[in-house]
């Protein structure tokens, strides 16, 4: 694989080539215009001067006859600085006057123009000069030739052609070099991204695309790729954590369940009560397993996110009242003081009422579970802010662990002795994210406070909002 065909396939190189073409075309047009306005203009001037000369000499001949014509031609030819050329021939071809030795041996071209070489006649460079001339026949058979030394114009032409060549060459070289440089640089950066991507495909997920920090397209591409990789790594870690936890949290009770059944079989007793007890305990364990499974499914449902489309108007106050109603006796049974501060007026929001209820139930459940007897639990609903808050006087959660408890199956060491599957707060977190709600874990000093703040109902723009206002 030579690098060159690869280079040809890159977009940047093609763009560079296109640029080079456009640039070259522009330069060509400019040069052509310059050519026309300099060389063309000078040619025109020469032609005009010759025409004027001819007109004058024709007049001289008309009014002064041959002697006057010869005198004028001689006079003009003898000017050492002139670049004009004259020749007067008799009808028999004998030179009568002028600074040319003979009639040029070329055929007249368009409009009687003749272009020919002349021997050095003391010109500035002493080189053979080119000349352009007009020849014609005067009345009486005299032949007259008027021309100009074109060396200067030729020199200019040559210089212009030479510099045009240089310009084209330099333009081409610069364009190609620039194009190569540009494409190679861009190619190198994209190649770096490709290399990183290949390493990641090969399994090194920790690798990241290098960034230049310039903020251009390629840098932004690198940034986006890195963000995407971070997200994928997070998701994968979450998945791995869940599968490990599922393996642990489901395998352990399944093993226990199996051992129990096995032991009963080994025991081989005739007492039916033994079998009955074993079966009932087995069913109890199966139920616990199913509860864990259901909790995982609920989280998956909340995390699916697509359900946000099915949100309906909900009353947070009603949700809180029902939950308080359900949990107040449970808290009191445990010797906890339960207070519910819920406004009488509806607190409208948009959401999934079952999931919101479940999230609140989980918060109350946790608070009751972890607060020792004699403690307090407070459920508050802030109608203006759309906030549900559960505070307890339990041990709380240290600030540095608050993020962690939202993860699935994470149970702080103190909590391991308490029954539960470690999915309660993970569900709350998933429900909060589904609703675009803010979940804040704070210090209730002492204890834990968890607040769920829902976005205002009006933001959802539900068609039912005006209807409920009319109803209320």
């Amino acid at each position: 694989m030579t690098p060159f065909p690869k280079l040809l396939r890159t977009t940047t190189f093609r763009l560079a080539l296109l640029y080079l073409g456009m640039f070259g075309a522009s330069v060509t047009v400019i040069l052509w215009v310059v050519w026309r306005t300099t060389a063309g203009f000078m040619e025109q001037q020469v032609a005009d001067a010759i025409a004027a000369d001819i007109a004058l000499l024709r007049q001289e001949y008309q009014f002064g006859g041959l002697p006057r014509l010869i005198a004028t031609v001689r006079d003009r030819s003898n000017d050492p600085h002139t670049n004009a050329m004259y020749l007067v021939l008799s009808p028999h071809g004998v030179p009568l006057a002028g600074n040319l030795s003979g009639w040029p041996k070329v055929m007249p071209e368009q409009e009687g123009w003749m272009h020919f070489q002349v021997a050095p006649s003391g010109g500035p460079h002493g080189q053979p000069a080119t000349a352009s001339a007009q020849g014609f026949v005067l009345p009486g058979g005299l032949k007259l030739l008027v021309g100009r030394d074109m060396s200067v114009l030729d020199t200019l032409r040559h210089r212009m052609v030479a510099s045009l060549g240089w310009v084209v060459a330099v333009t081409g070289a610069l364009g190609v070099a620039g194009g190569l440089l540009l494409s190679r640089r861009a190619l190198a950066r994209i190649e770096a991204i490709n290399r990183t991507t290949r390493r990641i495909i090969d399994g090194d997920l920790a690798d990241r695309v290098p960034r230049t920090g310039s903020g251009d397209e390629i840098d932004r591409l690198a940034a986006n790729l890195n963000t995407m990789l971070d997200q994928i790594v997070r998701l994968m870690e979450g998945m791995r954590h869940v599968s490990e936890s599922v393996a642990h949290d489901l395998r352990t009770p399944l093993t226990r369940l199996r051992s129990r059944l096995e032991l009963v079989l080994i025991e081989d007793t005739d007492d039916p009560e033994v079998y009955r007890t074993a079966l009932q305990e087995t069913i109890g364990e199966a139920d616990a397993l199913l509860a864990t499974f259901r909790a995982l499914l609920s989280i998956a449902e909340a995390e699916a996110g697509g359900r946000a489309a099915d949100f309906q108007p909900v009353d947070l106050a009603a949700i809180a009242r029902t939950a308080a109603d359900l949990y107040e006796p449970v808290a009191e049974e445990k010797g906890l003081t339960f207070t519910a501060d819920v406004p009488d007026a509806p607190v409208p929001a948009r959401g999934n009422p079952q999931l919101l209820s479940q999230a609140l139930a989980n918060l109350l459940d946790n608070a009751i579970k972890y607060t020792p007897a004699g403690g307090r639990i407070a459920l508050r609903v802030d109608g203006a802010a759309g906030r549900l808050e559960v505070a307890d006087s339990g041990p709380g959660i240290p600030a540095d662990l608050r993020e962690r408890v939202l993860e699935r199956f994470v149970r702080l060491d103190d909590a391991r002795a308490t029954p539960g599957n470690g999915l309660g707060l993970a569900l709350v977190d998933a429900v909060a994210r589904l609703h675009g709600a803010r979940l804040e874990l704070g210090d209730a000093a002492p204890g834990l406070s968890i607040a769920l703040t829902l976005p205002p109902a009006a933001e959802g723009g539900g068609p039912s909002a005006p209807a409920s206002r009319a109803g209320g």
Binding site: Q280, I283, D287, L290, A291, R294, A295, L297, S298, E301, R307, D310, T322, D325, L326, Y327, P329, V330, E333, N352, Q354, L355, S357, Q358, A361, N362, D365, I368, K369, G420, N421, G424
Partner: protein, 230 residues
């Protein structure tokens, strides 16, 4: 209430066999259909007290099967069984004409309790203003409860819970059914909150009286009935 005629429409033969066995042991008569077509034919040809319909069936799915039954004027109570457990799926099932919805895996006692309540409810007829079980009376208009003539003070939710128990007196009512019907919670809270509520209700209904009315049914739930458990 034994002796119900039940049609099970379930494509998984083993699951259907377990279900049929359990229902027969509970004293019911069971027919099994293994696909939607057969189920629709049987449900139309014979009279059943209740249909147990799997939501996902080969050929014709459970939802459209029940929709067709309802469209043809068949109002046999339907309990949906489904592996889909989200609130949405439940709502869809009920909207299609189902009367109740149970997510797999379920406890057999839960299923049994639910179909009995479904059939009993169908027989209840017109709305009542008074409920009575033994010497326990409930006046739904004045919202008062008396036992043996003595008035018992109940909180609103205790009243609702007792009303649900009394309406289904004699049947087993599971914790999940109470959560669904009294609190409208279609999920299982982590703690057994219902037990605490029942304990409170017992304090008020049964504590000062010689014969308890609220009975615990092990592995299933509770039952309100005048006669002691058999």
């Amino acid at each position: 209430m034994p002796g119900m005629k039940v049609l099970v429409i379930e494509d998984d033969a083993r699951a259907a066999a377990y279900l049929a066995k359990g229902l027969k042991e509970a004293g019911h008569v069971v027919d099994v259909a293994n696909d939607g077509k057969e189920g629709l034919f049987l449900a139309g040809a014979e009279h059943y007290d209740v249909l147990i319909v799997d939501r996902m069936l080969p050929g014709r799915d459970g939802l459209s099967l029940v929709e067709i039954l309802r469209a043809t004027g068949n109002d046999t109570p339907v309990l949906f069984l489904s592996a889909l457990g989200s609130v949405d799926d439940r709502v869809k099932g009920l909207r299609a004409g189902g009367d109740d919805y149970l997510t797999k895996p379920y406890a057999f006692s839960e299923l049994l309790a639910r179909i009995e309540v479904l059939v009993r409810r169908r027989g209840a007829g017109q709305p009542q203003t008074r409920l009575s079980v033994g010497d326990l009376e409930m006046d739904l208009l004045s919202r008062t409860v008396r036992r043996a003539g003595r008035e018992i003070e109940l909180l609103p939710r205790e009243f609702a819970l007792l009303e649900y128990l009394m309406r289904n007196a004699g049947s087993v009512v599971t914790r999940t059914m109470m959560l669904e019907n009294v609190w409208d919670y279609h999920f299982d809270p982590q703690t057994n909150v219902i037990d605490v509520h029942i304990a409170r209700l017992r304090q008020k209904i049964d504590k000062d009286f010689p014969t308890p009315l609220i009975h615990t049914v092990r592995g299933a739930g509770y039952s309100l009935r005048a006669a002691p458990a058999a």
